[in-house]
């Protein structure tokens, strides 16, 4: 069953650029980028039970860092992506250390405030980010190779996304992942089991920022322009929605949510006049009738069908 799913996914990923247009590949690139954002969100919310509403900010830091590295200093793109991830996680660690003195709702709101403040910084730090004029991003380079089209970028986007997925699985299965979940379930008990709660939370926060930064780096592989408008709270909420709709707390949910929701959102562009209503209604209906997420819902149906 799982093997089948992986095989199908692999076949789709390989076939995609061969049978479709650059438009579809662009969507795929974007969705894979959001998948990595969702994985980062999953680590902090799904695994550790902490809220981070600054995801778009870390994503932005990743984009600007990777974009500037590649465009101004001509670093090869694997390095740029890594710079994006490291820059975001460095700031994530610092913010985490300050913010994690707070609990639940306060933490959520403090990160929210940080996200908003960061967007303002993107908009006003003209010298670095280009401010309201946005930042042009040169095509990604690696030695002689230059990624110009979406199809050029696609293999690398896919590879990065898969690497991050594998990394998520490893982290979740490992001792670190267990300590994340312990913190999520009971901080007091986790402490008594020898889990340093605060440090664990900071690490989760930093890793999640790292993922967001890497996603930012991925974005620079196939995009030529970034504007602070795309880095606001809306984006964080979109990622959160994807994670919840896919199924909070499971890696499959995070991936599936990103893809399903990205597609829904793209399809809704075809029905502009009812778009917002439809979007809202989908969220509501999902929460009412498939609260464990799309994938749990489908799996249940599937199982039910087999039993019947």
């Amino acid at each position: 069953m799982r093997f089948l799913a992986i095989a199908v996914a692999a076949a789709v990923l390989i076939a995609l650029p061969l049978v479709t247009t650059g438009y579809v590949v662009y969507l795929a690139n974007l969705l894979l980028t959001f998948t990595v954002l969702c994985l980062g969100m999953h680590i902090v919310i799904g695994e550790t039970g902490q809220f981070s509403l600054a995801h778009a900010a870390f994503y932005g830091i990743g984009i600007y860092a990777a974009g500037i590295a590649g465009t101004t200093f001509g670093t090869p793109f694997p390095v740029s992506i890594l710079i994006g991830g490291l820059a975001a996680s460095a700031i994530g660690f610092v913010i985490g250390m300050v913010a994690l003195r707070m609990r639940d709702i306060y933490l959520a709101l403090a990160t929210f405030a940080f996200g908003e403040a960061m967007q303002w910084v993107f908009l006003n730090w003209n010298a670095v980010t280009g401010g309201p004029n946005g930042l042009r991003i040169a095509p990604a380079r690696l030695f002689g190779l230059e990624l110009v089209t979406d199809k050029d970028a696609y293999p690398f986007v896919v590879a990065t996304a898969i690497a991050m997925l594998v990394l998520t699985v490893i982290v979740a299965r490992a001792r670190l992942g267990r300590s994340f979940r312990a913190v999520r379930e009971s901080e007091i008990a986790a402490q008594a089991m020898g889990v340093p709660v605060r440090r664990t939370k900071v690490v989760a926060f930093g890793i999640s920022a790292f993922f967001a930064g890497i996603a930012g780096g991925m974005f620079t592989l196939f995009s030529t322009y970034i504007h602070p408008d795309s880095l606001g709270f809306q984006t964080t909420i979109l990622v959160l929605t994807m994670v919840v709709v896919g199924g909070l707390g499971s890696i499959g949910g995070a991936v599936g949510g990103a893809i399903a929701f990205g597609l829904i959102s793209e399809l809704l562009r075809q029905a502009p006049s009812f778009q917002e209503i439809a979007y809202g209604a989908i969220l509501i209906v999902f929460m009412m009738y498939a609260p464990k997420g799309l994938f749990a819902f489908l799996a249940d149906r599937f199982r039910g069908a087999r039993h019947a």
């Binding site: 003195r101 709702i105 306060y106 908003e116 929605t241 909070l248 929460m287 009412m288």
Partner: protein
């Protein structure tokens, strides 16, 4: 900058800040109410506020309904709509999962639906206001000039806060509202009708938001996007500790004043970021907010 100017700026900045802060405060009160009883930050509060405003606009301006009828009608609609949403949608959501995040996402869904509906009416494109319910003649406070409407907004925020405070602290229903938030299972065992309490809370909170909308459409103008102001209300609630009603009001003032003082003494560009910097400062100094009780270590 000379001294007189600084003095004038300070006075006007603080007084105007308190007025806009009152608006934030009213919305923050709506948010805090719901949060106290269900641990759900209601992401649709801004849109409930917006939709209530459009409801009043429609009645007052386009149907020419007299004020004495339009105002209560709006409040009733707001109450009923919110209570119904709580009853029909959120009941099912919490029955299905119980995770607060799911409830939050459902409120997010509501916010999109309301925005979409208002836009469908076609009234949402132009910023609008309806005639002020209170006269807008000027009043001087020191060197600061504001309007009677501003004073009314300020007093309303205080009155609503006092009302809610008494409700929560001193009445049986209010106690039940808190109990439901703390331990729903035990509350049911006490004979509390969870549904009714939740509907009541949502209804009341929508009414508070509707009052805010009625008062301030001349102040900030109505657009389909006006719900975005809820960000400031969240900021106010956070600064105030998120579960404290007086905190919400003081938080509103702090944010309003911070916006103005930052705008006056630092830069107009920084106005938007002022509330968030204020949040971060407050939370760094006092992680539980100004009025939040001490973050007690859980007793085991």
């Amino acid at each position: 900058m000379d001294k007189d100017l600084i003095l004038l700026f300070l006075q006007q900045g603080i007084v105007s800040g308190m007025v806009v802060g009152s608006v934030y405060a009213l919305l923050a009160l709506s948010i805090v109410m719901i949060f106290k009883t269900s641990e759900v930050p209601n992401f649709a509060q801004g849109e409930i506020f917006m939709a209530a405003g459009y409801c009043a606009l429609f009645l007052l301006v386009f149907q020419a309904t007299p004020v004495w009828l339009a105002v209560p009608l709006t409040l009733v609609v707001a109450f009923a709509g919110a209570a119904l949403f709580r009853r029909v949608v959120l009941t099912q959501v919490s029955r299905a999962s119980g995770s607060p995040v799911n409830l939050v996402i459902a409120t997010l869904g509501l916010s999109y639906v309301l925005k979409g509906l208002v836009r469908r009416t076609g009234f949402g494109d132009t910023p609008r206001s309806f005639p002020a319910l209170v006269s807008t003649d000027g009043v001087m406070i020191g060197q600061a000039s504001i309007t009677r409407l501003d004073v009314a907004i300020f007093l309303t925020a205080l009155a609503v806060m006092a009302f809610l405070f008494c409700l929560f602290a001193y009445t049986k229903v209010g106690r039940a509202m808190r109990a439901v938030g703390m331990n729903p299972k035990a509350a049911r065992l006490m004979g509390v009708d969870l549904q009714r309490i939740h509907m009541l809370v949502w209804g009341l909170s929508a009414v508070v938001s509707a009052i805010a909308a009625l008062l301030i459409s001349p102040k900030i103008l109505m657009t389909a996007e006006m719900g975005g102001i809820v960000t400031m209300a969240f900021a106010a609630a956070i600064v105030g500790g998120f579960t404290s009603l007086p905190g919400a009001v003081v938080g509103g003032f702090v944010i309003g004043i911070a916006e103005n003082l930052v705008g006056l003494f630092i830069s107009s560009r920084a106005i938007v970021v002022a509330p968030f910097v204020a949040i971060m400062l407050v939370l760094i100094v006092r992680p539980q907010g100004l009025f939040g009780g001490r973050v007690a270590i859980k007793k085991v």
